[in-house]
Structure formats: structure tokens, C-alpha cells
Amino acid sequence: MKILHVFKRSRKKTDGHGKSDGYFLEARFGEWGYYLLGIVMEVSMVAAFSLAALLVMIIVKAVVT
Amino acid sequence: MKINVRGRRIFAVITVAAMCLLLQTPYCRGTAAAYDTNRISISELIDEMDKYDGMSVTVKGEVIGDIMIRGEYAWITVNDGPYSEKNLESGAEFSGVSNIGIGIWIPSGDVYSIKSVGGYSRKGDTVEVEGVFHRACSEHGGDTDIHANSLKVVREGYVIPHPFSYFKLLIAALLAGISGLLIYVLVKRKKKYTEE
């Protein structure tokens, strides 16, 4: 039943930086909140980037037409 | 030196083969069947959008996928082209083209006459739609669409029969049998190795 145990590797002791293989793959409930924060960061990057592109489009359109 | 001669020969053979392939029949674009003269085929609309932009057109084809009601209006998708006449699931011949369809923006009240939408299990109703063609519709963010004035169901759709293929099942069973046999061989071998 290896497939079921994909994300259930035994929790290893963390290294000096507080991270180890088990740390990431075996997130507890609280740690998921941490990951969601990462997701929010990534989405906000996309939003900021789209706004920048929108600005470029508005300027080019205003100048050319 | 031997290798050089061989290398050159191989190169020559490959070059000749490539040339032969290149000289094959030239590419011809799959043309959708031309329907009767007062109607426009969707592929013609798509290829010459600037010519038909803002004009009133009539298209005829199969309603496909979903009827997406958005308040007072709804989106439907109509396909014409060979597969709207007879699709592959009903045993059509290959025509070499993809589906050719267009989104139709239509008053929600009109879509209730559509009883069947096309998909794997159903052939959609064939409808005739009259409306205004937009190359880049400003109301819909630049989508290419037709704003319908009228819709008429000209042929009703039906359930596409999918008779079960026992031949395929037989092949599947045969292959499963072979893999069962191989598993047996493998397990036996493993045992032998571990005993050794």
C-alpha cells in the first residue's frame, strides 16, 4: 500500500534551518495555513503583473490612437 | 575511410528520402462542404471575418456542448462542417477537419425549443440561426460571435447508439490473461532467486 503512504513519510528530525523532507511532505493543519500564505503571495504576484500589463496597454493605446 | 563512405551513403539516402517526402502532394486546406447559396458556412465566416463583420447572416448546424443561460440571454455553440451532419461516434468517415463552430448569443426564451445538445451520447438538434455577425464583439470582450434574431430547429437530435463491442472486450480479456500469466512467471522467478 505504498501509494497511500506517499505523503505519510515518517517525520524526520529537522535540520539546522528547521526544514527536512518530512517537514514539507507531512504538513500539519497549522502548517497548511503557512502554505496557503505562499499561494496568496503567488496569486498577488500574478495580479500585480496583470495590472502592470494593463497599464502598458492603456498607455500605448492612448498614445497611438 | 570506410566509415566515411558509409556515412556519406547514409546521408545521401536520408536526403533523397526527405526530398521525396517534401515532394508529396501539397497541403490542401480541408474545405467545409459548401451548403446552399443563401446561407454562409461558419468556416467561410471565420476565414473572412472582415467581409461579414456587422452583417446579418444565417448559419445552420448542430447545437453542441452546453446551453449556458446568463439571465435574459444565453450562449449556445453551433457547429457546421462535416461532423455536424454525421459524427464519428455515429460512424462517419474521417473528413480531415476539426469541428467548426461559433458562439451564438440568443434570448433565453428561444433556447427552450432546443431539446438535444450534441456530445458523446447525443446528436444535437440541427438549428438554423439568423443574426448579426461580429468579428470582435465589443459587448463580449472581443469574442467572435453571432447575436441571434431568430432560431429554428430544423432537425431534431437523437441518442447516438453505442453498441457494446465484444471484440474489444475479448482482446482486453486476452491481454489481461497474458499479463496474469506473466505475473505468475515473475513471481515464480522471484521465488527462485530468493531461494538461491
Binding site: 514539507f24 503567488e42 500589463a53 | -
Partner: protein, 505 residues
């Protein structure tokens, strides 16, 4: 000196390929389950045949290729490149049996397009395709996005110390975690988390668009898989134009931009290095090139005057541009519109964006932002050196998770791979022109296949010449694996013919 491979080398490679093919069989369980639930019995048998074929191949390799050696790097690379070809052939079985392909070559083209996250298809009558087959198209592109090897690593290579070599062969140079198998699992964890979140958002959006719950559910998963893996497949032939929804376009756009990020970057951001998302060279390089291309697309649009409002600029111009730059290939316009409605300037700007492509070690293709970033920085360094006195010591660095100092070997390897990409783009373009297509269309589609994008200006179709089908299939494969493992395969072929026998004189 080249050594001729021994029987044991072949066995070892065969063993690896068997595992890769088995993982293709494993993935087929998903569409099989879909077909079962939807009651599509003929489709079930197609997948049963496919799964059995994969099983038989794997068992065959297990029985005949038993060796006690471990994989070396050269083996690993050949396992990857040859394994992808085998995966294509076995993956094409359900495709071909579905009766929607006029030849097995077409089915192979579609599977390669799926696994390499390209998104072009030769499948005919897509709008009448079963749910099972649609699930297979999208699952294979989702699996291909993470990498077939990553799939194999997750389940099938647990106790192999040679796993690193096959991981590296699949165009992924970075590890997330010290252990390769755990890296593969972390990649899956990131992808599956996004699968859940993305599909929920898409489901709600599709439902409010007026689709039935069942169809919304299936479409949300398919659209997610197509976007996340930067594949560009969609369940209907009109692709994203089918939905006529700005919300869905926005959600898919967010998904494929995030999907095009480096998995190592995801890991870094998720584990707390939030500033990495603004500092990373790949993000910066991507932002600069994408904004430059946006400038040219807007310029083209403004001059041509087909699309007039900012809304249209964004939903057509920006969406297609970003879809091309992330090598996704989701489209909100018809193929012919890329030529007729976009105009030459916007079209070539998008070709440029596709050529650059997404981030390294991501689901995307193309040159990769990392290489472009390194190249631009090293160019800048050279310019600075020219302008400075001889005695000045100058240096440049790029920030990618850590600071990397630019030196000649780094710049050289980036430039070499970019040159290889340009070569496959160019050869494909010339081939298209030789067949009588206009240069714009020929180069657009050639770059689209080589960079695993999947937008088409109208060249790719089931009636295109056989040679082009074969070239494009190879071009997708070569582009996805980033050349090195292909070179290893060619090298092995050469050493079979010309190599010296081991032990001989």
C-alpha cells in the same frame, strides 16, 4: 573513446523504460474510472486494453531485464528520452481505439502533445468525444506537466540510488528536497494542492456561467489540468472561446502563470521565503519580457483597429500573449484570427514570447526565463567590461533561490541550449515554408511546437503532411526534454554502431 554498450546496459535501460511505461498504465486508471462512472462501456474496454498492454510490457522487462547494477547518469538520460517515446506509443493506444484518429501517427502526435504539455491536437470531432477520452487527454497533460519521470519516481523507483540521473534527464535541474523521490512527491503535493483550489474556483465560475453541475465538475478539472500544466487542452473545440466568460479567463490565467513557475520557487515561497517571489531572476526576466511583448501587441492592436477597447486588448491580446509566454496555448480566438485579426506585429511578438517560454524546472517549455535572465545579465557584464578600464574587476550576479555569480561556463551553457532551441524552431519554420505555408504561419506553429506552447495559426491539422507531423512530434519531445537526454540517446546509438567493444582492443 566510446564503449559499445553491453547487454547489461540494455537490460538496465529496458528495466527503467518498463517502469516508465507502467506509470503510464497507472495513470490510465483515472480515465478508466471516469468512463466507468459515466457508463461509457466501450471506452472502458479501450482503457483496459491500454492498461493491459502497459502491464505486459512492464512484466516483460521485469522478466527479461533483471540486473543487479544501478543506473548511471548515461543510463538515466537514455531511460528518460527513450522512455518518453515508449510512453507516447503506449499512451496512444486508447486514443487510437477511440476511433477519433485517422492514423496511429495522429494518435501519437496527440499523446506527445499532451505529455509535453503542448496542447495541439489532430483528434477529429472533439465535440463528440467521450468523457473518458477527454479525461485521458487532460490527465496525460497534467502528468506530463509534472513529468512522466516524476510520476514514475513517486511510485516506482523508491529504492533506486540511480533515481537522480533520471530526474535530471527530464529537463529539471533543481531538487526541492535532498532526496529525489521526496522531491517528486513534493512536486505532486504542490500540484495536487493547486488542483483542489483551482478546480473549486473554476467549478463555481462554470456553474454561474450556466453549466450543469456535472458538466461544471468535469470541465473544472479539465480546464485546471490543461492550464496548470501549461498544456492548453480544453474539452471543446472552441477552447476557451467556448465559455465566453471573463471570470474563467482570469482564473485560468492565474493558474497557468502560477503553473509556469519553477517548482523550486514554489517550494521556497511555500516554506516561508516570501520575498523570493519578487527577487527571483525568473520572475523578473518574465516580467520584463512579457511587458515588452505586451507593448508590441498593444501597438499592433492599436494600429490595426480590430480590437478597440481596453477590455478587448486584455481578453484577446494580453490573454493570448501570456498564454504564449507561459507556453500554455489556451486561446480565446480562432486560429485564423491570429493572422487576420492580430496583424503581423502582434503575431510576431507572440512568436517571440513563445520562444522564450516559462520558468526552468516547471511545467512549461521554451528557452526558460532563467537562461534568458543569465544571458542578459552576462551581456550586460560584457558591456560594462568594455566600458571600464582593463584593470577593473567586475562581476554580476543573478538571484535564483541563492545568488549565482555569472561566469563563462554558466553563460555558455545557457547560450548553447538557447541556440539548440533556435535551431529546432528555425528548421520547423523552414520545413513549413517548404510546404508552401506563409512564413508567419510556418514559424508561428514551429515555435509553438518546439516551445511546447500549443497555439496554432492554422498550420497544424489532421491533413498536414506526414513529414511535418513527424517533425513536430520530435520537436515537442526534444523541446520538452531540453536536448541533453536526447543527445545521450543519439550518443548511445552512435556507440552501438561505432563504439569499441568492452574488453576488446
Amino acid at each position: 573513446m566510446n564503449l559499445r554498450p553491453t547487454l547489461n546496459d540494455f537490460r538496465l535501460i529496458g528495466w527503467g523504460i518498463g517502469r516508465v511505461v507502467l506509470s503510464v498504465g497507472l495513470i490510465m486508471a483515472v480515465p478508466l474510472a471516469t468512463a466507468l462512472i459515466c457508463g461509457e462501456w466501450n471506452v472502458c474496454t479501450d482503457f483496459l486494453i491500454g492498461i493491459s498492454a502497459c502491464l505486459i510490457f512492464w512484466l516483460g522487462t521485469e522478466i527479461t531485464c533483471r540486473v543487479t547494477l544501478d543506473l548511471r547518469v548515461s543510463h538515466g538520460l537514455v531511460v528518460v528520452s527513450a522512455g518518453w517515446l515508449f510512453a507516447m506509443v503506449f499512451g496512444a493506444i486508447p486514443h487510437y481505439l477511440s476511433g477519433h484518429f485517422s492514423s496511429f501517427l495522429d494518435a501519437c502526435f496527440d499523446v506527445m502533445s499532451g505529455f509535453t504539455t503542448t496542447g495541439l491536437f489532430l483528434l477529429q470531432d472533439l465535440d463528440h468525444v467521450s468523457n473518458g477520452l477527454n479525461m485521458w487527454r487532460h490527465v496525460l497533460t497534467y502528468a506530463g506537466g509534472q513529468g512522466i519521470i516524476v510520476v514514475a519516481l513517486t511510485f516506482l523507483f523508491v529504492r533506486t540510488s540511480g533515481a537522480l540521473s533520471i530526474y535530471l534527464g527530464e529537463g529539471k535541474e533543481e531538487k526541492l528536497l535532498p532526496n529525489v523521490v521526496n522531491t517528486a512527491r513534493a512536486i505532486w503535493m504542490i500540484s495536487l494542492t493547486y488542483l483542489v483550489i483551482g478546480s473549486v474556483f473554476l467549478f463555481v465560475a462554470l456553474k454561474t456561467c450556466g453549466m450543469t453541475p456535472g458538466r461544471s465538475f468535469l470541465h473544472s478539472i479539465w480546464l485546471f489540468m490543461g492550464s496548470w500544466s501549461t498544456g492548453g487542452f480544453a474539452p471543446q473545440s472552441l477552447n476557451l472561446l467556448y465559455y465566453h466568460s471573463f471570470t474563467i479567463e482570469l482564473i485560468t490565467m492565474a493558474i497557468f502563470v502560477i503553473g509556469s513557475l519553477n517548482f523550486a520557487l514554489h517550494y521556497s515561497v511555500w516554506t516561508g521565503k516570501h520575498s523570493e517571489i519578487w527577487k527571483n531572476i525568473e520572475i523578473r526576466s518574465f516580467a520584463v519580457t512579457a511587458l515588452v511583448v505586451t507593448f508590441f501587441v498593444s501597438l499592433g492592436f492599436s494600429k490595426l483597429g480590430v480590437y478597440t477597447t481596453i477590455n478587448e486588448f486584455f481578453r484577446k491580446g494580453f490573454y493570448i500573449m501570456i498564454s504564449g509566454h507561459t507556453t500554455t496555448g489556451n486561446a480565446t480566438v480562432y486560429s485564423s484570427s491570429l493572422v487576420n485579426e492580430f496583424g503581423v506585429l502582434a503575431l510576431w511578438a507572440i512568436v517571440f514570447a513563445m520562444a522564450i517560454g516559462a520558468s526552468a524546472a516547471s511545467t512549461g517549455g521554451g528557452f526558460k526565463n532563467l537562461r534568458v535572465g543569465i544571458l542578459i545579465k552576462s551581456l550586460w557584464l560584457d558591456i560594462r567590461k568594455m566600458a571600464s578600464p582593463d584593470s577593473a574587476v567586475l562581476s554580476e550576479k543573478v538571484h535564483h533561490l541563492n545568488d549565482l555569480w555569472i561566469d563563462d561556463p554558466l553563460a555558455r551553457s545557457a547560450a548553447l541550449i538557447i541556440l539548440c532551441y533556435i535551431a529546432i524552431y528555425f528548421m520547423g519554420g523552414l520545413l513549413g515554408v517548404a510546404y508552401g505555408f506563409s512564413p508567419s504561419v510556418a514559424f508561428f506553429d514551429s515555435v509553438s511546437t518546439g516551445s511546447n506552447t500549443g497555439l496554432s495559426a492554422g498550420l497544424v491539422s489532421p491533413v498536414m503532411p506526414v513529414l511535418l507531423k513527424v517533425y513536430y512530434t520530435l520537436s515537442m519531445w526534444v523541446g520538452r526534454l531540453e536536448f541533453i537526454s536526447i543527445f545521450a540517446l543519439i550518443g548511445m546509438g552512435a556507440s552501438i554502431v561505432r563504439g569499441r567493444k568492452v574488453g576488446g582492443s
